[in-house]
């Protein structure tokens, strides 16, 4: 079911079928593992079985003697090339192949290159590594204990596991409000470690041409240009001799932003052997070693008045970053965009402190449609609003309605310095309540509670901050977050758009063609979108943080407008009038007052390539380029309502309904937008009820396969119910805001709030995700457990 509103979307915008699907439905997509090059060899990574251990020796002789093995690469080999360690995206370093110690289970220790994949794997077992096991830091809350083993003793002078302290907001002012408040509530809330688990694991095919000195790497990357620059910096290869190709990508969700050791090993393997080398990790390697997400141990506090006015929010966070600080986020935000923990509410004060620590777990943190930690921020504040509602005995929807920002408050400066661009929050929540039949649901709940049945209704409201970002404020390793776009107009009026961002399923080849079509009045089918190849696209930072439409979509609109303006001058020569006398009607430049006299873009494009005499100083052709430096972030929002039933006998949850009303500004392709929201809702169900990467006391990963790390199937997902409101972004050229992560951000608190609401007869105010039957059963008994560690 979809409730839509009239909002006058332009003609080229609409539910156009995706251009990319013709290949996908035939099995003709071309993913990294589908790349086959002549003479290609295959790599495999030997990984640590220990979470923390000193390497005393590595013997590769038997592996090297394997008849099909071409090379065995260890940390020692890489140290000789100054490549044993590489920079992370958070200005830390990460071992490519371990030299001194292993620091998490699954860490890369050696790399074998062989004639085929099976032989490479067989040879891994021939490598003898002697380890001296060390005690592991598994519990983030013990990482800063005085007697905690020091994980990063590779760094001179390091005597503890502390990474950073970061603070935002105003502590003294917040404390004042708390002291003065009629009501305060506090709760410890864990957003446990999860993994994005795209269906395609990570991999690379590296091909170094010794004759030309050119390195071509096909990679599962969401950020091909950033990778190219980093390879140039890290490996000392000249950047113009590096070509990174990101072909079809089987889902990314943030897990394919960073550079993984396997990519570097494939490159080194190709340089060493002189042959192309393919490396594709298996599922367990993917779950155990590539970027995890979340792992935020939070304490939230809310100060309010007795009648339900939320006055201040205070948060302290312990952030578990694993063994290397590898979060992929803008440089000056060590806790990402967690600063939007003030939510969608008008507060008097807010304060937040985040401490990051090392543990003996895989690195990562910002991966999984999190909008740079807004998932955690929204979960915290939306859970806390429900805790407050519980304390006040108020309806959680009513409490939110009372505190949401009003339309006349935009642009709104939050207590932590974020400037929300636009929104109509009350209307949005009201629409969600109407679609859900909120009052009827509450009536049903009262009835069923009387019968002893557990039914829960959960509400969440979120504001996102996406489209990173203004170059002045945002960079990753010194690379500003602006993106280029080139638009080439052929003489016959067909267009080729080259963009820096890289789809992993978001449908860029369609959406971006629609943007050009809308600006130039040509069919979207006449626009070819080129992306994912650094040799044929302009520089930009790639696709993550819901930034493609806000940044690259804006670049696309701007470059198309440049083409249109160039076309105006050519049209003026064609029509022998001044450019000032021309008007654009959506498909043609026509002479003001004489609408019959006009020229379409294809007509003008041909003329621009012809012998037509152009005004002095006007070049021929219509091609244009631009770089879009976003003036600000965009702020999508959502109102979600979830309905569940809980079986008190088993602790099992039946998810009955999930209503999602999103406002992502102007929708370019509503079909694609809906799909993005659907996927995020399933993520929310997974994280709230099923997914967790936990560890035992020795640091063994307990989520290393799809039998252990449970993902929602068609059985766990209800039929989603969507609605929309549209408040265009005031500063985006087409008013779009980005939607790729909204539902992943907004749905976990809705589902958890619903389950906790169902457990209200037991006096339950909070329990940590995932709310598995075991966790719910224990919560009913008054003994919820820590979901990040092995159940005790």
């Amino acid at each position: 079911m979809t409730a839509t509103e009239q909002h006058g979307a332009p003609a080229a915008f609409g539910p156009m079928r995706r251009k990319e699907d013709a290949r996908f439905v035939r099995g003709r997509g071309s993913y990294v593992d589908d790349i086959v090059l002549p003479g290609m060899l295959h790599g495999a990574v030997l990984r640590s079985p220990h979470a923390h251990a000193r390497i005393t020796s590595i013997d590769t002789a038997a592996a090297e003697a394997h008849p099909k093995v071409k090379a065995v690469i260890t940390g020692q080999t890489l140290a000789g090339l100054n490549l044993a360690w590489m920079p992370t995206l958070s200005n830390d370093t990460q071992a490519v192949l371990a030299t001194d110690k292993v620091r998490f289970q699954g860490q890369e220790v050696a790399f074998v290159v062989a004639e085929d994949r099976y032989s490479a794997r067989d040879a891994l077992e021939l490598i003898e590594v002697d380890y001296e096991a060390l005690p592991a830091v598994v519990d983030a809350r013990r990482a800063l204990d005085a007697d905690a083993p020091v994980i990063r003793d590779d760094v001179d002078g390091r005597t503890d596991n502390h990474i950073f302290d970061w603070e935002t907001g105003a502590a003294a002012r917040t404390e004042e409000v708390f002291r003065d408040a009629e009501v305060t509530v506090a709760e410890d809330i864990l957003y446990p470690r999860v993994h994005p688990a795209p269906l395609e694991t990570c991999g690379a095919v590296a091909d170094f041409d010794k004759v030309t000195g050119k390195l071509t790497v096909w990679e599962t990357t969401q950020a091909p240009h950033a990778h190219r620059t980093l390879y140039a910096i890290v490996a000392g290869l000249p950047e113009h001799k590096i070509r990174v190709i990101s072909p079809d990508i089987g889902g990314g969700f943030g897990g394919k932003v960073g550079i993984y050791p396997g990519y570097v090993c494939a490159v080194v393997g190709s340089i060493v052997t002189g042959k192309p080398v393919k490396w594709v990790e298996d599922r367990s390697e993917n779950l155990m070693s590539t970027a995890f997400a979340r792992d935020f141990h939070m304490r939230g506090e809310v100060a309010a008045s007795r009648d339900g006015r939320i006055r201040a929010v205070r948060v302290s966070v312990l952030a578990d970053h694993g063994a290397f600080n590898g979060t992929a986020q803008p440089t000056k935000y060590p806790a990402g965009f967690f600063g939007v923990f003030t939510g969608s509410y008008d507060l008097e004060a807010a304060d937040c402190k985040v401490t990051g620590v090392y543990t003996n777990k895989a690195p990562g943190g910002v991966a999984y449609a999190c909008s740079f930690r807004i998932t955690e921020a929204v979960y915290l504040v939306e859970r806390m609003v429900d805790v407050l509602a519980y304390r006040l005995g108020m309806d959680p929807a009513e409490l939110r309605m009372r505190n949401l920002l009003r339309p006349d408050q935009f642009p709104y400066s939050s207590q932590t310095g974020w400037v929300y661009d636009s929104g109509d929050y009350q209307r949005q929540l009201a629409l969600a309540m109407e679609l859900a039949g909120y009052q009827e649901l509450r009536a049903e709940q009262r009835e069923r509670r009387e019968r002893g049945e557990l039914m829960g209704i959960g509400v969440s409201f979120f504001t996102e901050a996406v489209g990173a970002g203004p170059r002045k404020h945002m960079d990753i390793l010194g690379l500003g977050m602006a993106d280029g776009a080139d638009l080439q107009m052929h003489p016959t009026g067909k267009a080729v758009l080259r963009i820096s961002v890289q789809t992993q399923g978001q449908g860029h080849e369609t959406t971006f063609a629609q943007i050009v079509a809308n600006e130039l009045g040509i069919p979207a089918d006449d626009v070819e979108v080129v992306h994912g190849d650094t040799d044929s696209t302009p520089f930009g930072l790639g696709t993550y943080g819901s930034r493609s439409t806000p940044v690259s979509g804006a670049a696309t609109a701007v470059v198309a407008r440049k083409v249109r303006e160039r076309a105006r001058i050519v049209a003026s020569a064609m029509l022998e009038v001044s450019p000032d006398d021309l008007e654009w009607d959506g498909a043609r430049w026509f002479v003001r007052g004489d609408p019959d006299q006009g020229k379409t873009i294809p007509e003008i494009a041909f003329a621009a390539h012809s012998s037509l005499e152009l005004p002095d100083g006007v070049e021929g052709h219509l091609d244009a380029q631009t770089v879009y430096n976003p003036p600000s972030l965009t702020y999508p929002s959502g109102a979600y309502i979830c309905v569940v039933e809980v079986d008190p006998g088993t602790g099992g949850v039946k998810l009955r309904r999930l209503v999602a009303v999103d406002d992502c500004g102007v929708r370019i392709n509503p079909m694609i937008v809906e799909g993005q929201v659907h996927g995020g809702l399933a993520d929310g169900v997974g994280m709230a009820l099923m997914q967790v990467i936990a560890f035992d006391s020795d640091g063994n990963c307990l989520g290393g396969s799809f039998m252990d790390y449970l993902l929602p199937t068609a059985m766990e997902c209800p039929s989603w119910e969507l609605g929309e409101t549209v408040t265009p972004s005031p500063h985006h050229p087409i008013g779009a805001k980005g939607v790729g992560e909204s539902a992943t951000v907004g749905s976990p608190p809705a589902v958890v709030n619903a389950v906790i609401d169902a457990l209200r007869p037991y006096g339950v105010r909070h329990a940590d995700m995932p709310l598995t039957p075991a966790q719910i059963w224990r919560t009913i008994q008054g003994r919820p457990f820590r979901t990040d560690l092995a159940i005790t």
């Binding site: 990319e20 593992d33 079809d248």
Partner: protein
Amino acid sequence: MRVTMTVNGETMTADNVWEGESLLFVLRERLALPGSKNACEQGECGSCTVLLDDVPVCACLVAAGQAAGRQVLTVEGLRALAGQEQLHPVQQAFIDAGAVQCGFCTPGLIVQAYHLLRHSRGVPADPDIREALAGNLCRCTGYEKILDAVRLAAGRPGDAV
């Protein structure tokens, strides 16, 4: 060893197959049919679903030798069923319903959906569709539009369904 099987209606032979090799490996690496995807190699995700004598299987869990002398249908074969250049109604429905995002689960789901519809009369009930697709993970779509595609294909005429 040498393994001969009928794949998408065509007799195909793979040489030098190691006894432990999976059907998925042989299809992708030896028979140039990379449509079936390797996403978990543990039989948990369904991305490599093919029909083996009209039974959906995870090709990663079937030893290539087990397929010797049998009929295998992969996503590449559906088009052939409908005529060389046309799409099979199930494939067309996935496009029309917007059921594809990253595309990695798509080949397995299309084969699974094809099998369901081949053995259903009319439009299957919602719980039946969900159950039939429960072995196929999708990380992008939340399944809704995939269900739409199955219903759409079921309601359309097509010889092969």
